[in-house]
């Protein structure tokens, strides 16, 4: 009886938390097609005018373009640097391991306000504020830990014997890397790249410091929009932003599904192996 009550209480609490978490998303999407300019809920009628307003506005379009290109470039750079770093972490020997680990993961922990201010002070003198390069550099630093974590995880599950087998069969060390190791860690690299892209796409605090009349990213433009006046255009853009993230997230989910299916098979094999040995 106590058990049923406990479960019922937990279930009710979970439902409330679920509503609490999803409510913003659930409210904002319908509002983006409401005819009322006052963000009324439930939405009145159906219109695409706020989307049209967004797509016909040169300033919004420019910030969208910057967000996309900065996001893609920093994801790419994150993957290259992060994969190399992950290979070194898992396979390599290098000095000051603890300190290096701290440096590599610090961007995940240091509050973005601090990063923004520090980068702003430094980049100002170098002329890197309000440049795509400046954004890409910082967003890469913020995205790299995600690539590291994902690639380290997939690399740790790669059996060294596979590489030994390839070399035994005549593959050169470089050939072994490209034919065996890289295909096996590719899912991890892809996941890391997606996270790095989303990090850049969503990032607003550091971007506020680096933005200006020359370059503004979509979140920063939304930020100033919200502070000036709340109108359904923001809801429309939020919806678009959500769709982009959810698409990336869904892609990642599909990949995970595949990966976990093969992981399950692998696990099963390992379990049988362990049973044999026991």
């Amino acid at each position: 009886m106590a058990k049923i009550l406990t479960r019922a209480f937990l279930g009710l609490l979970a439902v409330l938390i679920g509503v609490y978490l999803l409510m913003p998303v659930l409210v904002i999407v319908p509002m983006s097609w409401s005819e009322s300019p006052y963000l009324a809920f439930p939405p009145e009628g159906f219109t695409m005018q706020w989307y049209e307003k967004f797509f016909n506005d040169a300033a919004w379009m420019s910030s969208l373009g910057h967000s996309v290109s900065i996001g893609l470039l920093s994801a790419l750079l994150s993957v290259v640097l992060g994969t190399m770093g992950a290979l070194a972490l898992v396979r390599g020997k290098f000095p000051f391991r603890g300190v290096v680990m701290g440096v590599l993961l610090a961007p995940m922990i240091v509050p973005f306000v601090i990063v923004g201010l520090a980068v702003y002070i430094t980049f100002l003198g170098l002329g890197l504020t309000q440049t795509t390069l400046g954004f890409v550099l910082v967003h890469t630093a913020l995205g790299v830990p995600y690539v590291l974590i994902n690639v380290v995880a997939s690399l740790s599950s790669v059996d060294r014997r596979l590489e030994m087998a390839a070399m035994n069969l005549g593959a050169t060390p470089l050939g072994t890397f490209f034919r065996i190791t890289l295909p096996l860690i590719f899912p991890g690299m892809l996941a890391g790249a997606l996270f790095a892209f989303i990090t850049s796409w969503d990032e607003v605090v550091v971007a506020i410091f680096l933005s200006g009349p020359d370059i503004t990213t979509l979140p920063v433009k939304m930020w100033s929009g919200i502070r000036v006046q709340i109108d359904p255009t923001i809801a429309a853009i939020s919806t678009i932003s959500l769709i982009v993230i959810l698409a990336a997230f869904a892609g990642q989910g599909v990949f995970k599904l595949f990966a976990s299916a093969s992981e399950r098979r692998r696990r099963k094999r390992i379990v049988t192996m362990q049973e044999e040995l026991a």
């Binding site: 596979l162 030994m164 087998a165 069969l169 005549g170 094999r269």
Partner: protein
């Protein structure tokens, strides 16, 4: 075979020459303070099936990895058919290998796994097709060529790993506990299969295992390793019948060992019992359980150990009787079950006996080290 030949030429010469002879001389391998291989020397004949047998940490896998090139020895020489292989990188050795847990490439089909080595050697496409097809038929896996490794059973994966190791007709096939992950029935089947393939190909097989039973079944010769040294090298029969130390006697098969010494009249155990003098040298008298019979009385027996039976295990074809002498020595007899012979009961008095020629003197470990 001279070193001017290209790698591919070397491989194609293999076809006429079958197995390679391998000489391991004074190989030393250390990890920090730990000496994993301590001046190991071993001559492996061309076409031989040799097993490196030992417990975990004995150095058998390290020795195999030195032959395959994944480990570099700190000292010593490795020669394959007279050529120095000590520092040659693994991908230029051309030795086939079957890895522990198979190490099949999970992102490639069975076919691509098997063809991998041939492609790295840039063999003509037609030849790759031909050879992969042949070897898959040989192991009865041709119908599963398009499967990925994780869609195969353990036994099937084992076959593919074997096919991948032999398809480019190496002079040597190295196997690192290849049967460890299979269940008992499949393992016995694969032991016969590997043995058959060895006879068919005629190449040198180096097999690593910790399973003495497997080693006895399959090998031409066995090298038993302990703490980085080969303690005994010989045919399965030599290791079983004439172990050169207590360690070997206990590692290979089961044995009854009596500590004592030889005097003018025969062998006296430390407990004071007197047995006939067997062949060999040493302070231990070894007799295998299957040579021990259970008798009712000591009358007329040269070798008689009166015991009190404390356990009797029924094994279907055999019966194992455990007895303890007055001095506390456990004696085990393993006898076929036949009609008319009733099994002794726990607590019964009985006499363990054997023929002198079935027993053997074995040096104790300390003596063996001096020898």
């Amino acid at each position: 075979m001279t070193s001017q030949l290209t790698y591919t030429q070397q491989i194609s010469q293999v076809e006429q020459q079958a197995g390679a002879a391998i000489r391991v001389s004074d190989i030393v391998k250390r990890y920090g303070d730990l000496t994993v291989l301590d001046r190991v020397s071993l001559d492996i004949n061309a076409g031989e099936f040799i097993t490196l047998l030992g417990a975990s940490g004995s150095g058998k896998s390290t020795l195999l990895n030195i032959i395959s090139g994944f480990n570099k020895p700190d000292a010593g020489l490795l020669e394959v058919d007279g050529e120095d292989f000590t520092r040659r990188p693994p991908h230029k050795r051309g030795l086939g290998m079957v890895f522990q847990h198979y190490a099949l490439f999970p992102h490639m089909s069975v076919w691509d796994n098997v063809a991998f080595g041939l492609r790295r050697q840039r063999r003509p496409k037609a030849e790759v097709q031909q050879r992969v097809g042949d070897v898959l038929r040989m192991i009865q896996m041709d119908h599963l060529a398009d499967r990925k490794p994780d869609q195969l059973s353990g036994g099937q994966q084992q076959r593919v790993a074997l096919a991948r190791g032999i398809v480019f007709e190496p002079r040597v096939l190295l196997m690192d506990e290849p049967l460890g992950a299979l269940d008992k029935l499949l393992r016995e089947e694969m032991q016969l299969e590997i043995r058959r393939i060895h006879q068919e190909l005629g190449i040198t097989f180096i097999f690593v295992t910790h399973d003495q039973h497997e080693a006895l079944t399959m090998s031409d010769r066995i090298a038993l390793l302990k703490h980085g040294k080969i303690v005994q090298l010989g045919t399965p029969k030599e290791l079983y019948d004439s172990p050169n130390s207590r360690y070997v006697a206990e590692f290979i098969g089961e044995s009854n060992l009596f500590e004592g010494r030889v005097d003018a009249d025969g062998f006296v155990t430390d407990g004071g019992a007197r047995f006939g003098r067997p062949s060999g040298d040493g302070s231990l008298l070894m007799v295998r359980p299957e040579h021990v019979r259970v008798a009712a009385s000591t009358e007329g027996l040269t070798n008689a150990a009166p015991v009190r039976v404390f356990n009797c295990v029924y094994l279907g074809s055999d019966m194992v009787v455990y007895g303890r002498t007055e001095s506390g020595q456990v004696v085990v007899a393993r006898t076929p079950i036949s009609h008319g012979v009733s099994a002794p009961l726990e607590g019964d008095r009985a006499v363990m006996t054997w023929a002198t020629e079935d027993s053997r003197l074995v040096p104790d470990d300390a003596e063996q080290r001096q020898a």
